[in-house]
Symmetry: C2
Subunit: 379 residues, 2 copies
């Protein structure tokens, strides 16, 4: 299907940009001498994941058990479920392992560790668990020097659970925007996670994997001594938040929302689009960054950005495209520049959030033809 | 299924609250002597829509053609598609009408009006179109006194299209929070829409329907002279934005997200939930209102709100529950008050956005048993 035949709103993936992003990340990881385990929560799409694996990824990271189940059903068997385990979800984890999935769980507290040990014992299953390490204080995990680290390690190790490694995610990298700050955080993430592994090993607990990553720190890292693998998700498509952080150019962004002009408020300089927040998502991740892109950056159908314009507002199925600087010409211009029926591509703030609004991507090849790539929803 | 058997995160509808909300709105419309046409974009769920129709609703309002197709397939045949028509979508509208759906389209500009007339002529179909009126400047529509109103009316009327009525949506009501301001806007919405109908009729264009509404103005209206029907959507579930506007109590909110405590950062007073923004949505609609509820208001499993706490932050699958006022006790308290595995219900900022994150609702009856109500996604 050609671009102008796709009904709007639609989520487009530019295949050439996506492949370039995959090659860039995998190449950087190869240079640093570490394995790469992409976080597939960004796309929840087997077609994208197959491209990541074909480029050299080893295993995947997931954020839900539904992702684990779906990707295992599609032939991916090395899966890290990177959210601290809720004991009530153990039956689904057991079912996956019994089907042959090499599923690794994550914990950051003694209660969940004990629950996994007890459940494994009860069902004769040796679970593999990675311990989550907190290297930047932004969310979950145990800091490398906390006593709880060894407590959790011992609960697992002494009760028949395999401690497969430690993992950390320096999500505070999303708040930075200079190469120096990103490189410093990448080193902090590396050092903290390696230190946690060292403490476990000194306590007699094998800790083979040392897993770090976020898209900004993965790209900023210059040496990863002691690290065995890196995880990152949004790099595969990139978005305006990543652009503001400084890790991609606008023309690296592989996801856009195809939209149609459906109206105007000429006196205000507005064109109304059929892509509102249901299509763009409510993510306003650029609102506190150096450049606020509103609900997205409009581009022509061929991908050329229109830097003087932004999607400044959104209702459920209406987006408001308006000039960034209000000027006297805008009112005259908008109906001619953006006539009814014109199609535009809107670059999103956050690829993970925008993609989740759609049941499928339209993957566009360099020749302009597209195919449908399904993605899934829910838990 | 009982509440404690439902896997988290999950979207719960409290059936008794929903029925109370439906009865309240329908009763108010009956008192005002107007028909009620609920906007079903809020739930995209036939089980909810059947309850609205059973209570007296006449027809539905939709925001996408997919909603029109899905609800028509479920037996609803009086449908207003309340987004200005993109000419490229006319084949789907034609298909619906040919199947017997009484689908009404909306336009606010001459180009789309001409396109509908030409397409109808080409295919021998008499489309019904309602003209969108702008009564508060917040988005789309033609203001009542603009020449364009009659121009669009004539294009339709003189080219074989039935002008079924005028419609308006005073969406700026979401920015208000006093009964006086809401009542004034309801009157402005009514008067503007009635005036537009009057101008069309004076120009010899029949305009049978005069349709107004948003949840806040619908509930605030005290007289609707000249209006034939009202539309509203979110009233069926309500949410924290509506609570801040002042049109519902916390215990009217029928939608909540069931979540499990999966971790803590005790020194910060945080409990980590398995409901992040993928479950709550990225909607931060209360951020500029009188009370900022973060990503949601935590409640006990029985529905009792915990007013000292809020979901203050969210990543894709992690929510951060924290005390509103930081105090010395919080750190000691959080692990005991919210132990690992505890389930909570989180009231959302915006029911339309939160519901859209889920493939289904779990509809909970007063006896605590729940059934699954499917909802759909996409366009």
């Amino acid at each position: 299907m050609k671009l102008d035949q796709i009904e709007t709103p639609a989520a487009l993936i530019d295949i050439a940009r996506m492949q370039r992003n995959i090659a860039r990340m995998q190449g950087h990881m190869n240079t640093l001498g570490v394995a790469f385990r992409p976080h597939v929560k960004t796309t929840k799409c087997i077609d994208v994941v197959r491209a990541q694996i074909a480029a050299g990824a080893r295993g995947v990271t997931v954020s839900t058990l539904k992702e684990a189940e779906a990707f295992f059903a599609s032939g991916v068997d090395d899966i890290l479920y990177a959210v601290s385990m809720a004991p009530s979800k153990l039956p689904r984890a057991l079912a996956l392992r019994r089907q042959g999935c090499n599923l690794k769980l994550v914990v950051d507290n003694p209660t969940a560790a004990s629950a996994i040990a007890a459940y494994g014992d009860q069902h004769g299953e040796t679970f593999e668990v990675w311990i989550e390490v907190d290297t930047d204080g932004h969310r979950s995990g145990i800091t490398p020097e906390q006593d709880t680290l060894l407590e959790v390690g011992r609960i697992l190790h002494e009760n028949g659970v395999k401690v497969g490694g430690v993992m950390t995610h320096a999500g505070s990298s999303y708040e930075l925007d200079t190469p120096e700050a990103l490189a410093a955080l990448a080193e902090q993430e590396r050092a903290g996670c390696v230190r946690a592994a060292q403490r476990l090993r000194e306590a007699g607990i094998a800790c083979p994997a040392v897993s770090v990553g976020s898209t900004p720190t993965a790209l900023a890292a210059t040496q990863l001594e002691g690290v065995t693998e890196v995880r990152a998700g949004v790099y595969v498509l990139f978005d305006l938040v990543m652009h503001n952080i400084g890790v991609c150019a606008l023309d690296d962004i592989a996801l856009s929302v195809l939209a149609t002009v459906i109206g105007h408020q000429a006196d205000k300089g507005w064109a109304i689009l059929d892509a509102g927040w249901m299509a763009m998502s409510r993510d306003r991740g650029t609102s506190k960054q150096s450049h606020d892109f509103g609900y997205g950056q409009p581009c022509l159908l061929n991908g050329t950005p229109l830097p003087g314009y932004v999607v400044s507002g959104a209702n459920q199925e209406h987006g408001i495209l308006s000039p960034i600087v209000e000027n006297a010409d805008a009112a005259d211009d908008v109906t001619q520049r953006f006539p009814i029926g014109m199609k535009l591509r809107i670059l999103p703030n956050h690829a993970c959030a925008t993609g989740a609004q759609f049941p499928e991507y339209h993957a566009v090849a360099p020749d302009g033809n597209s195919v449908e790539w399904r993605r899934f929803q829910g838990w």
